[in-house]
Subunit: 367 residues, 2 copies
């Protein structure tokens, strides 16, 4: 008997038609054809999706739980996404809300290779919240970005990542930018004693990304930024498996908000596929996530999961230094704060502003 | 001076705030930081997105045109998607409606390698609509699918594709399934004289997909099915470039409907990246697209585009034989009809039903 992935969909509908609609989703996400002419008992018993529960949430919304056969995923990351939401993403009465994965699925993907504890250990920061910022704007030269990164490193920050729009453009090609920034950050780290990490942003196809990780490693780096929904989940999962010495921070670009709840996609699915630190749009910033969604995302990223390490939640998107106490109060200290644009706006004072940011986080840990 | 991609967003808002909101999108999709502290004139002049036009459509909807610098895409497929919608996909007041690409972008990707004329030539069908169906259900053995494909081929259909849920599961692994189906279809084609094509569905990472195309080629096949939003656009574009002898049919799974208009994504963007035939959810089926959207998608796929061949529109998703006259009336004959589940429901009569389907399309071409 195959195990089942128990997928929860939030469906807009009415009490009269919801049972048929739920069956429709179960069929769409499995055999995708009328059930009646299927004669094969294996397909009928083991492959067709099963409606397991329908719960009326009120206001015309129903929580529908469907059991999808694990074997239909082939335990492959892209096909997993295809089976839990692929075609149904085109039906706008449905949102993928959550899924419970059986142990064989979690075991096949393995989750973060480093996770919260691994990242803390690298930064020698066993308790406090971690700090991060982003290098911007794209269009800057490699030399400019390296100077900027070096200045930020002097402030004693934990993580400096490329902006997710910085790819391999001629004005700062990866092969020129990454060695320059890595060296500048290493110089800054040598002065502060904080083992600040730089995360270059991967781009292009799988071949290109492999080459980029190789170059990063040769520059002494041990972590990268990847956008799984642009890379393709299969590429992300392959790179995690091939590079166990690297930590992967994931970026939410292209994650939408309408068809898949961010808490599930960024907090649970990315974690299972190997995200060590998951960036998401914090509430109260310039994106539309609610505080409830962000809290749930953080819980999904951190909660106990046999065999799967905790992934660090990274709230971001228009964050300000002034919000540090509030964010630490909301998320606790198992978090990496990512403050980008507002820090960069301080220009020549950036090392001092970064130090103020870092100090605020450290002080909160003591207080 | 860099060329600009002119991107049209449909934005929900009000007349008082729309100008600021449009600026916000232009910044989000380029430098992604406050503009004021940016001192580099190159970034200010050439990189920051520019609001080019705002048109009040009424009902609280605004058509906003933004010029994004081509150079920020690095002419790489994944980064192109990242720049035109990536982060903004998380802001639910915005839909990417359309984009005009400058010639250098279209030239860099090159569009379909075969397109409408190439597919027609292979099928020796210079005028009439093309016919297609899908092999289902997943969970079936390779032998069952081969028998089914052989029976369908006896009906003289043009294209038989794997269902997009058929990947590399143990019950019909690619390496076993594809040679068996290819042989069965070739046998059927030899009897009918119709050069029926089989399109296996690619899955996994780039390495796996390369191997799958290699195996398909060794079986005498010359076309495949790919889901670009699961594979990652970079993988899709790489495979198109590496395999000019192959035609690529694209599947819309994971395309959502909320953040990107299907007409643009499936009709224009997939075409530019190399789709020879683009499957989409037809109006009046089980998905939510309107007739207007499907008509626009078809026009985008086929319209004149210097250097870019026309891509065949493939309406699908719950289509019935009874709708053939209506669909041909709506789409004309530059179309490939894809009728899946309803054909499969005829079971042992499938060769005869396929012949009836094919005859209806041929008859329409004569009438």
């Amino acid at each position: 008997m195959t195990s089942r992935i128990h997928v929860r969909y939030l469906v807009r509908g009415d009490a009269k038609s919801i049972a048929a609609r739920a069956e429709g989703i179960a069929v769409e996400q499995s055999v995708e054809m009328p059930v009646e002419p299927i004669g094969n008992p294996f397909v009928i018993d083991q492959i067709i999706g099963r409606v397991e529960d329908i719960h009326d949430q009120g206001n015309g919304l129903f929580d529908v739980r469907i059991g999808l056969a694990t074997i239909t995923t082939g335990l492959e990351a892209g096909q997993l996404l295809n089976m839990i939401i692929g075609n149904t993403s085109m039906q706008d009465d449905v949102t993928l809300a959550d899924a419970e994965f059986p142990a064989e699925v979690a075991d096949a993907f393995g989750g973060p290779r480093h996770g919260l504890a691994g990242l803390r250990e690298r930064l020698r920061a066993p308790v406090r919240a971690l700090t991060a910022t982003a290098l911007k704007p794209q269009g800057s030269s490699a030399a400019f970005l390296a100077k900027l990164a070096g200045d930020i490193a002097l402030g004693g920050i934990d993580y400096i990542k490329d902006d997710h729009g910085i790819a391999n453009q001629f004005y700062s090609p990866y092969a020129e930018r990454v060695p320059a920034i890595a060296e500048a950050v290493a110089r800054g780290a040598a002065r502060t004693g904080v083992p600040t990490r730089y995360l270059p942003s991967l781009n292009g196809n799988l071949d290109a990304m492999r080459g980029q990780i190789g170059l990063a490693r040769s520059c002494g780096l041990d972590c990268v930024l990847i956008a799984p929904l642009i890379a393709g989940l299969a590429q992300f999962q392959t790179l995690v498996t091939e590079n166990p010495d690297f930590a992967f921070m994931t970026h939410p670009t292209m994650s939408g908000t309408a068809r898949i709840r961010p808490s599930f996609l960024l907090g649970k699915l990315f974690r299972m596929l190997g995200s060590d630190a998951t960036v998401f749009a914090n509430y109260g910033g310039r994106f539309g996530y609610t505080a409830e969604e962000c809290g749930l995302l953080s819980r999904f990223a951190l909660q106990d999961w046999p065999g799967i390490k905790p992934c660090v939640p990274v709230p971001a998107g228009g964050m300000l230094l002034e919000r540090i106490p509030e964010m630490l109060n909301f998320f606790g200290t198992d978090v990496m704060l990512l403050i980008g644009g507002s820090l960069l706006s301080t220009r020549e004072r950036i090392a001092a502003e970064t130090a103020r940011y870092v100090e605020a986080v450290r002080a909160a840990a003591k207080g």
